[in-house]
């Protein structure tokens, strides 16, 4: 009987999900890393009279799927589109840059690592803090789950993560795990890092957020073909000075500043 009720509930939810794809406002699905900033952006958008924007998490790949299936008009991704995805007609519009921060416990004497050292640590080749001139003791690697945008970005920027790394399925859980353990090392985005008692390591001598810091990933909105209608308007707002101010407030690096620096 209970299962019967469950089946009915599932039907109900499925039919509601069907209703929601009706074109009222704008649907965005995708990266859980982009979700908080996308929500702030949607609020700011509504304040200036924009349409209602609803945002769903699920991950970058889920966002790509949602846009391809037509479930959402726009996707949010925290990695680059793959050539295969681009070939299906998806277009990415980078709206901000997220800074991946390598974090350790505040008691850890280390202040920075090189990218080569990071690769050795997360790949499992170096497994004791003593080898890095820290206090001797096993390194406890904390990583994200396969498929997460943060992990993909870390893999492409640093290298593969050892199969022996502890896996936590949200930035928040990584923060808690590293906060409690003097031997732990993990990676989160700068926005998450700001809210916790964690120590960020410099990479190749550069502090996170400093120009030239290596672990930076683009956050992009994606559309199937060139954006039109509501999606185009929302994208224009995201790239406007007001939209970019939201990015800065959320601890991200705006696209305008980045291009200004590169010039």
């Amino acid at each position: 009987m209970r299962l019967g009720v469950l089946a009915w509930c599932m039907l109900l939810v499925a039919s509601m999900a069907g209703c929601r794809s009706s074109p009222v406002g704008l649907q965005i699905a995708g990266s859980t890393s982009v979700q908080p900033v996308a929500e702030m952006l949607a609020e700011a958008y509504a304040r200036v009279g924009g349409a209602r924007v609803s945002i769903q998490g699920g991950g970058s790949t889920a966002g790509v799927q949602a846009v391809l299936n037509g479930v959402a008009a726009m996707g949010a991704i925290s990695r680059r589109l793959t050539p295969g995805e681009r070939a299906k007609g998806l277009v990415e519009h980078t709206v901000a840059y997220d800074v991946l921060t390598v974090v350790v416990h505040p008691d850890n004497p280390l202040t920075g690592l090189t990218r080569r050292q990071l690769k050795a640590v997360f790949g499992g080749a170096v497994s004791d803090w003593g080898e890095l001139k820290g206090a001797p003791g096993a390194i406890h690697l904390i990583s994200r789950e396969a498929g997460s945008g943060s992990r993909e970005a870390f893999r492409s920027l640093v290298g593969p993560v050892s199969a022996r790394a502890i896996v936590q399925n949200s930035s928040g859980a990584i923060r808690v795990a590293v906060m409690d353990d003097p031997q732990a090392i993990g990676y989160v985005s700068l926005g998450t890092m700001l809210t916790g008692r964690l120590k960020a390591l410099a990479v190749d001598g550069k502090q996170p957020g400093e120009p030239g810091y290596a672990l930076v990933r683009p956050l992009s909105l994606i559309t199937l073909g060139e954006p039109a209608g509501e999606a185009a308007q929302f994208l224009r707002f995201a790239l406007s000075p007001a939209g970019q101010r939201v990015m800065v407030d959320e601890g991200l690096v705006p696209v305008r500043e980045k291009s200004a620096r590169n010039d």
């Binding site: 790949t61 498929g147 896996v167 795990a177």
Partner: protein, 270 residues
């Protein structure tokens, strides 16, 4: 007329619930069929296209087994205390507390485990703290109310004559429990254990938060482990293609496992 209507409605309910099980089983097996052959492999690495769940099977069994080793003696002990020894005032206090324990959402257990248990294990016993032990402890607390409640019902259902007869033969309370009550309530207690086993195998959220989710076979209680359920929950959001099939295959394996447990239980309960 109303009788026939009621019978028809009840029949529809019965059909619907059994159909739901069949549909879910068929759907899961069908979606996962492409990955079933790779399932026995030792390595799970979606990034390299390897989808073996052997390590997770051991992870699930280790965490579940550990939980039962703690929860069954504690739950049956609690039931014995409540039915045989507790003063009514204590029993009327303990029972609602057990029920409350059963109603706490699993994320809450997970969060307490993550912020209290994991650091405590790390400090006291070493290692990363995320471990089979942490998962087993959290699960033990979660299945304890069900085990205790079902075992208590089983003991309470025994005729008074058993206790009176044992007392008349001069048996001590301990002898009564060990030689008369526990053997007589064996069926009900087996049900309690299986109920706990089923819940422990299927529990996802709380375990995922404290076991560390490393997809390697644990060799000590202090090793991290990934469970079958945790594997599905963590990666389903991202999975496409073969990866998605492999997660459905994991679900099919889990379903088969639970069905096997139920079948064994039905035989043992007789």
């Amino acid at each position: 007329m109303t009788d026939r209507l009621a019978r028809g409605l009840l029949f529809a309910c019965a059909v619907l619930s059994s159909a739901a099980v069949a549909v879910i089983a068929a759907f899961v097996a069908l979606e996962g069929r492409g990955a079933l052959s790779g399932l026995p492999g030792a390595v799970w690495s979606p990034e390299e296209g390897l989808y073996g769940v052997r390590a997770m099977l051991w992870g699930s069994l280790a965490v579940t087994g550990g939980a039962l080793i703690i929860a069954v003696p504690a739950g049956v002990g609690m039931a014995l205390y409540l039915t045989e020894a507790a003063p009514p005032a204590v029993a009327s206090l303990a029972r609602p507390m057990l029920q409350t324990l059963a109603g706490v959402p699993s994320v809450v257990y997970g969060f307490v485990g993550l912020s209290v248990l994991v650091p405590a294990i790390r400090r006291a016993l070493g290692g990363p703290g995320f471990s089979v032990l942490a998962g087993a402890l959290v699960l033990a607390v979660m299945v304890l109310p069900a085990v205790a409640a079902v075992a208590e019902d089983a003991l309470r259902a025994l005729p008074r004559a058993y206790r009176e007869g044992a007392a008349a033969l001069g048996a001590t309370p301990w002898q009564t429990v060990r030689r008369v009550l526990l053997p007589a309530a064996r069926g009900g207690i087996t049900t309690a254990v299986v109920l706990g086993l089923g819940r422990a195998l299927g529990e996802t959220m709380a375990v995922l938060m404290v076991t560390g989710n490393v997809a390697t076979t644990p060799t000590s209680p202090l090793d991290p482990a990934r469970t079958l359920t945790g594997n599905i929950a963590m990666e389903m959001g991202y999975a496409v293609g073969r990866h998605r099939e492999a997660l459905f295959a994991t679900g099919a394996l889990l379903l088969g496992l639970v069905m096997a447990v139920n079948a064994v239980a039905r035989r043992a309960g007789r």
